[in-house]
């Protein structure tokens, strides 16, 4: 497989995103606002708590958790679903499908470009969080590998959602928003899963969502350490393999029944 064309797509999408200066600016301001709200909320919660730790987290660990979660959340808001929906509705998907490119990889490359830009927009937050909020450094460099695996797992879920457009030629945004909202809670994106009652943690641990947020964040904070880090990475690889296989099968079935209107 030639990777050249995909690298070109990544760099083009990166540059396209930079074209919209206002988007870049708001992309930098939003995470700051989100962290500000959560800083006040967690301050009030820890002040009201009878114990100094919550779910095993001290206040400063919780702030680190929140900041890193907001930073890696840029990989949650991808455009694949909208791109696929628009291309299916307008029929322009046909002209992409006849190109000698893999459509799933092509979409992945487009979003990789814009994700890089969104990560760049998080730089002010990274600097401010280290300087003013005193958040800690990653406990293990394997966090970066784990976050990357989280991105890939998340992307598989995104691509599977986007397939809805091919099967119904309807809107994808409702399904997309539902997936995101369920994910916010059960992936540990808004708070560590250890805060949940035990029986709920049992359910969340067998879902793929925790492999997107909770495992990388646990490795960052060192709540998962030593040999357990490799265990967490193995869980992520397992989910990635399974979702990759499902995506492959669904994509094959989708291509058998693709209907192109207009164009």
């Amino acid at each position: 497989m030639r990777l050249g064309p995909y690298a070109a797509v990544v760099s083009n999408c990166f540059k396209t995103q930079l074209e919209y200066r206002l988007d870049f600016l708001t992309g930098a301001v939003n995470p700051l606002l989100n962290v500000t709200v959560m800083w006040f909320v967690w301050s009030a919660i820890f002040a009201s708590s009878p114990t100094p730790t919550l779910g095993g987290y001290t206040f400063s660990a919780m702030i680190t958790y929140t900041c890193i979660s907001v930073i890696i959340r840029s990989y949650c808001w991808l455009n694949t679903e909208y791109n696929v929906e628009n291309e299916v509705k307008s029929g322009s998907v046909a002209s992409i499908l006849i190109k000698p490119l893999s459509y799933p990889l092509y979409n992945f490359a487009r979003d990789a470009g814009s994700t890089l830009m969104w990560l760049l927009a998080k730089l002010p937050l990274v600097v401010l969080a280290f300087v003013f909020l005193g958040i800690s450094l990653p406990a293990s460099p394997l966090f970066f590998l784990s976050a990357f695996l989280g991105y890939l797992i998340n992307y598989s879920l995104v691509f599977l959602t986007a397939m809805w457009a091919f099967w119904t030629t309807g809107n994808v945004w409702g399904l997309r928003l539902s997936r995101q909202m369920i994910m916010e809670v059960v992936s540990g994106a808004i708070m560590p899963l250890t805060l949940f009652p035990l029986w709920m943690q049992g359910i969340f641990n067998v879902l793929p969502f925790q492999a997107v947020f909770y495992l990388p964040l646990s490795i960052y904070l060192g709540t998962v350490s030593g040999a357990a880090v490799y265990g967490a990475l193995a869980v992520q690889l397992g989910w990635l393999g399974l979702l990759f296989a499902i995506t492959y099968l669904v994509w094959g079935a989708t291509m058998k029944r693709v209907v192109v209107q207009g164009g």
């Binding site: 708001t26 006040f40 909320v41 009201s48 309807g170 409702g174 916010e184 805060l195």
Partner: protein, 257 residues
């Protein structure tokens, strides 16, 4: 103003809107469900936290639910009835040149923009808001008297118009820059401040949320009416008027622009 003329047009356009929801029934149901689900995130957050803490800065779980219920109801009314002139609509209208068509009609432009669109997705917020307010008031022992129901309605309308005004101001930026869609993200981020009680923030933030960007009037101030906290009561009574005066200033400046 020819009220009857406006009402007749509004009824006609609403009928078409509702017919179009029925055309895409699955999209309608999934959309309403998705927006309903957005409200469960913060509710779940509160529920999980209250497994560990007795009160949050003096507020009980059910009091927070009541505040959040106002938030959901206000957003729902705004989302359903007042987003015809939102930043994301204006972005599209200006860029695709569709606004020219609207400007030609013999009717107030802002009124027409608002009337032409009833967004079914907002029904998810309204449902969540009513359920939350109903459940919380039951648990808090607040009577469903005529006076309380009327106050709830007035507060919700006030909140909806606060949101409307801030959003129309953002929409106006579409005339100067090519894309204001990302401003909507700022709007959503700012609205997160209203999901939590105002007294967890420091004075500067509370001041901004009361006098500059009056988001405090969406959830926190109205609920004080039901808690009977003398300290915040004047702000509660001010809610409907803040909504009215905000939208008044936005519409009049829109007329001269």
């Amino acid at each position: 103003m020819r009220i009857a003329y406006y009402l007749r047009n509004y009824a006609e356009m609403s009928k078409l809107n509702i017919q179009s929801w029925m055309e895409y029934r699955i999209d309608f149901l999934i959309g309403v469900f998705a927006i309903f689900l957005t409200n469960t995130v913060t509710t779940a957050f509160f529920w999980v936290l209250f497994q560990h803490i007795p009160t949050l800065n003096g507020w009980t779980f059910h009091q927070l639910l009541l505040m959040y219920g106002f938030c959901a109801l206000g957003f729902g009314i705004w989302h359903t009835f007042l987003t015809g002139c939102s930043a994301w609509e204006m972005d599209r209208l200006v860029r695709q040149g569709e606004l020219d068509r609207v400007l030609l009609r013999p009717i107030n432009t802002l009124a027409l923009l608002v009337m032409r669109r009833i967004d079914d997705d907002g029904l998810g917020d309204i449902t969540a808001g009513i359920l939350l307010l109903g459940y919380a008031s039951m648990k808090l022992g607040i009577a469903w008297s005529f006076q309380n129901l009327f106050a709830t309605f007035a507060f919700a309308m006030g909140s909806a118009f606060v949101l409307f005004s801030v959003n129309v101001a953002m929409a106006a930026v579409a005339f100067w820059v090519t894309s204001v869609r990302s401003l909507m993200d700022v709007f959503w981020s700012l609205s997160r401040f209203t999901e939590y009680p105002l007294n967890i923030y420091n004075t500067a933030v509370v001041w901004v949320l009361t006098f500059i960007l009056p988001f405090g009037f969406i959830s926190f101030d109205p609920s004080q009416f039901f808690f009977g906290n003398a300290q915040w009561l004047p702000y509660a009574y001010a809610t409907p008027f803040v909504g009215r005066s905000c939208s008044g200033s936005v519409t009049s400046s829109g007329g001269t622009a």
